[in-house]
Symmetry: C2
Subunit: 218 residues, 2 copies
DNA sequence: GTCTATAGTTGGATAGAC
DNA sequence: GTCTATCCAACTATAGAC
């Protein structure tokens, strides 16, 4: 190691802390808590491992801090309280739109939550993360009561809708399965997915009149 | 360690090999390749770590063997070739039904594939795993051509449908978010999910005539 | 606040007896 | 084919200089 101590004027506790959180968020979103390496996190943001322990104590506490931060961001970004007040169709549209707004800004959030659910049963997030699901359940229930959504179990509906929206991000690094001509995550594909998923969910839920087709083969 | 060498008559290479694969499948489905511990796998099936290396060489090769096996099971269980021959609606029903048949038998398959996609970009599975998606794409394309499915990009549709079906298994260990009265994965919930998801996907895709509602509030 | 150096532990893999 | 014992690399976390 030839690196020299950073100049005093370049030291900034808030900035360093936030850089570590940003890097940790990306690394944890790929590796999960157990497989993530503090060295990977440190070198991604050009600090030393010691800094992680100086600011966060342990890897586990850093992980908790990461989830606490994204949880706050999500709660603010989704504006859940306001959704409960909107009429069901508008609330559904707004819910999905805000959800995708967040995922578009940070495509790794899907994997981060997926790993947390699978590997840790959501114990680092669930504390109050369930609100995101419960608001969606509420929207579906109100839509059914108002007669604008088809009848179905709203809790299953919430999980299915969420899956329809977020699965894309879990397979995003592997899209060459379906798009061999593309090797990586792509801005245009993302926009297409958002449009498709929004449309898909609406079609599944909405009671709607369809203009009769001329040719129906079965 | 007080355990004594197993009696010669109780030695069975095929059985041991298969026990290791079973245990590894479960552990990898929770931890992923990197975080999985060979000691965990070994103790789950009451053999020693040494046996894993005797039969499979390295942890990575064991992981590959696990994915190769589930890949074969899936290909056989899905009977993909036959699906290409069915009319679109029947093919879609059969596809989803067979998919859920496999997931019901092994609920950890969802997490196993999710981790593989997120953490390894599918490189241990994709070799030919894309066929499962491509058949679904083909079904959707044929359904649109026949006028029985709504118009949409079939590749996005495939990803969305898959997400609607499998997300449930990723959050299954965390269902107390929505069902506080239940603490664990549950047989009845699974059946409900299968029914809901099947219905959801059909409603989203099918061109159908809906009988007019009497009261529509917006 | 940031660095280097290192302690302490875990875990993948191997050697060799039975 | 299965076991015990052990090697060694990788990793988290700490100590202490600047």
């Amino acid at each position: 190691m030839v690196r020299v101590a950073r100049l005093a004027k370049d030291r900034d506790a808030d900035r360093t802390r936030s850089l570590i959180l940003d890097a940790a968020e990306r690394i944890f979103a790929r590796d999960g808590l157990r497989a993530a390496r503090t060295l990977d996190i440190a070198s991604q943001c050009h600090v030393t491992k010691a800094m992680i322990h100086y600011y966060f104590g342990t890897k586990e506490k850093l992980y908790q801090a990461v989830l606490d931060r994204v949880f706050l961001e999500r709660i603010e970004g989704m504006q859940l309280a306001s959704l409960r007040a909107l009429p069901p169709r508008d609330a559904l549209d707004a819910y999905i739109s805000r959800l995708f707004g967040q995922m578009a800004r940070k495509p790794h959030l899907g994997p981060l939550f997926a790993l947390e659910n699978i590997q840790n049963d959501g114990i680092y997030y669930t504390r109050s993360g369930g609100e995101v699901y419960r608001v969606l359940t509420n929207i579906v229930d109100r839509g059914m009561a108002a007669g604008v959504f088809r009848a179905m179990d709203s809790r299953h509906a919430a999980i299915i809708i969420m899956g329809a929206c977020v699965h894309y991000f879990n397979v995003a690094n592997n899209v060459r399965i379906l798009w061999p001509e593309r090797r990586h995550f792509d801005e245009r594909l993302l926009r297409e997915h958002i449009a498709s998923a929004t449309d898909f969910v609406s079609s599944a839920l909405l009671m709607r009149r369809v203009r009769p087709r001329t040719a129906v083969h079965r």
